[in-house]
Symmetry: C2
């Protein structure tokens, strides 16, 4: 059973927006066991769109199109699918009701006689409408000769909930015997992709479940996916492999699925009843920003300092002037001092600090752009510092340094448990 | 003259990555005056890829494909294009040289007898290779009956420089009479998209140059684009409209093209010889992170404080306990006090502060989640504070609050100039 995705919109062909809908739909279809055969992007041009619908319906069992359902004349998606099927459009009362309600919800006035608004209630003969819980344009679908064609609005915030609540149930109802893919992602920090690849070499060969590492901004995600009609059996298979991956990559696996390393850190701090303070120089606020992205972080995050200017490191952090004014102004003494100082200032249990050269200018003979020192101070364990060298743009060096600092903090927070164990 | 873009890779159809190449190529083709007729995504499947190439070459004058040029057996792009054209592949010495050099550059060992490495030097008969300055896989191209087919590697960091240095010159050489589009983007803060639309209503109707507003994360971009064979004439047209847009939207236009508001702020601070300090609560470090993304920001950015815990606001920022412990812990007094306090602590000319409720929990009867206070202290002008309400996720509220704070700071930095004028 094959499917195709049709992305409709001249703005896509002009490169004004990235087509994230196609990726979203592809990945969700894969999850439920539907192969995507091809994706096609066309503009809001009736002739070309009609051709594209005919071709896709000729090749595939499921065609999902997004975009071109708005009220204006250049939104021609529904009309073109109707033509491709040789059917007409009718004014659907329940679709109209849904449009009316969406205006009410948003406190907007609906001109009931407006032909452009009424156009959005035009449904293909024999088809059905799909309510839009967020915007005004309803979706619609039609079954023809065992094939399913579905039209969804272009804005991702409207498309996604409609896809989840209507399209997935429709497909699983209409096409029995799908073997969905179940998957688990393990998030790994502190190991590069090739190291992960080596440690898991034999597992990467297996076919059900499949195991694959993906690199992303200084960390690696290991995807374990099993296909099976029996959900329990697939999950059991995944669970066995997950245990083995965790065993081999321990202690580098910090989280599962959507869990970021800052969430894992938050979870550990709460469990241990510890609080955190952060002093940043080279990362310039990025670590604090990531820590405070986590809901509930105010429970354990006490304060951050972005000590950017050398005099600020001296005046507010108490770093000895000789350490800041050395040729290598970023050094272990500064990183350790900042970590300890911010911890004491905040009255926190743990202090984390970064200093270094993000570039593009700066650095010194002793320390190049990309050199970063990370300091951690823990009220019981003491103070440690690490030097790392990164390369890339200013922005990239900040990202990698923040990721490394968070990883070191995560490691420190997990280690005492092991020592006790 | 028509073009098509072919994105090749099973990982795309599985939804594992977003196809940013298609957007990049679309937008660059538009810039040079080439229409994109259609975009197609197919997997690394020889039969389907062959069909897709035949279809695209049948419809369009230019076909640009990305992906599937790697050394492994499932990279079949070159072979499929050769089949579609009824041609063979030959081993190209200059392509092989280029691969050899790319290994040298990266300090990697090349096995000269490896058939998979040599496969990447296979060029279609009558075609030419396109060097890859970043990775190992060369691109290639072939001209047939006045049509041009081009193959580029999938990784954007490799594809983009090759597109700029080879593909654009090739297309403009092969297809004369293109009328390129020239464009200027004006970046606007402090006005919503519909306000911008109203202020520019008549200009949005014009066709050359076209004027269009795009909303993005609490700000608006106004794109002014003119098409013309004569570059000077097109730029002159744009310049006239740009002046008019600036006149109508003044003082909300802070920058042009790639200039972010944090860059504009940096430019103003340097020009005025002022320094900046930032105290963040609700934005949690995001403002400092954005300020320090700008190269050279260490010249004017002295320090940031992320005063997250109420006690930290009292102990390190000197905010009166009664203000922090009020039911509405985020209020004007706290925002003003933080701005003034961080300015004095850092010995800076300007202090910027945020406090509020990012949610999802928190807030109070008096102040809901999304309520944000922004304070600014300026050594000569004094202290001001503003209250705004945002809605959305925690992350979204942080983004919008940071954007608003930066906008207010930008406004303050431009105002004294006007007062003197």
């Amino acid at each position: 059973m094959q499917s195709e995705i049709l992305s409709i919109g001249t703005e896509l062909l002009l490169g004004e927006i990235v087509d994230t809908n196609a990726r979203y739909i592809s990945s969700r279809l894969r999850d439920i066991g539907v192969n995507v055969y091809r994706r096609v992007t066309v503009g809001d041009n009736p002739d070309r769109l009609l051709t594209a619908f005919k071709e896709s319906l000729g090749r595939s069992d499921i065609v999902i199109a997004t975009g071109g359902l708005g009220p204006t004349d250049d939104d021609v998606t529904a009309k073109c699918l109707a033509s491709a099927l040789g059917r007409g459009l009718y004014f659907d009362e329940s679709a109209w009701d849904s449009i009316r309600q969406s205006y009410l919800r948003r406190g907007r006035l609906l001109d009931e006689t407006s032909s452009s608004a009424r156009k959005q209630a035009s449904i293909i003969e024999g088809g059905f409408f799909i309510p839009n819980p967020v915007g005004t344009a309803p979706g619609q679908g039609v079954e023809v000769d065992g094939k399913l064609a579905l039209l969804l609005p272009g804005p991702p915030s409207e498309m996604q909930p409609m896809f989840e609540s209507h399209v997935i149930p429709l497909i699983t109802k209409n096409f029995s015997g799908l073997t969905p893919i179940y998957c688990v992602n393990l998030n790994v920090a502190g190991l590069c992709e090739s190291m992960v690849g080596e440690l898991l070499a034999d597992l990467l060969e297996s076919s059900n479940p499949t195991v694959a590492p993906y690199a992303d901004s200084g960390q690696v995600r290991v995807r374990i996916a099993a296909r099976g009609a029996d959900k329990g059996e697939a999950l059991a298979k995944i669970s066995d492999v997950e245990k083995e991956v965790r065993r081999r990559l321990s202690p580098y696996v910090y989280g599962k699925n959507e869990e970021t390393i800052e969430m894992a850190i938050g979870r550990l701090l709460v469990r241990k009843g510890l609080t955190l303070a952060v002093a940043e120089s080279v990362t310039g606020g990025l670590i604090c920003h990531r820590i405070t992205e986590v809901p509930g972080s105010s429970r354990y995050f006490k304060m951050g300092m972005v000590a950017y200017h050398p005099e600020v490191k001296i005046s507010t952090m108490g770093i000895p002037p000789h350490a800041v004014h050395r040729e290598d102004a970023a050094n272990e003494e500064v990183a350790s001092g900042m970590a300890e100082s911010v911890r004491l200032l905040a009255g926190a249990a743990v202090g984390l600090a970064t200093t270094g050269f993000a570039g593009p200018e700066g650095g010194s003979d002793k320390e190049p752009v990309g050199a970063v020192y990370i300091g951690i101070s823990h009220k019981r364990i003491g103070i440690t510092a690490e030097r790392v060298i990164f390369s890339g743009s200013r922005s990239r060096i900040k990202v990698l340094a923040a990721q490394r600092a968070l990883y070191l903090l995560y490691r420190l927070l997990t280690e005492p448990d092991k020592n006790r164990g």
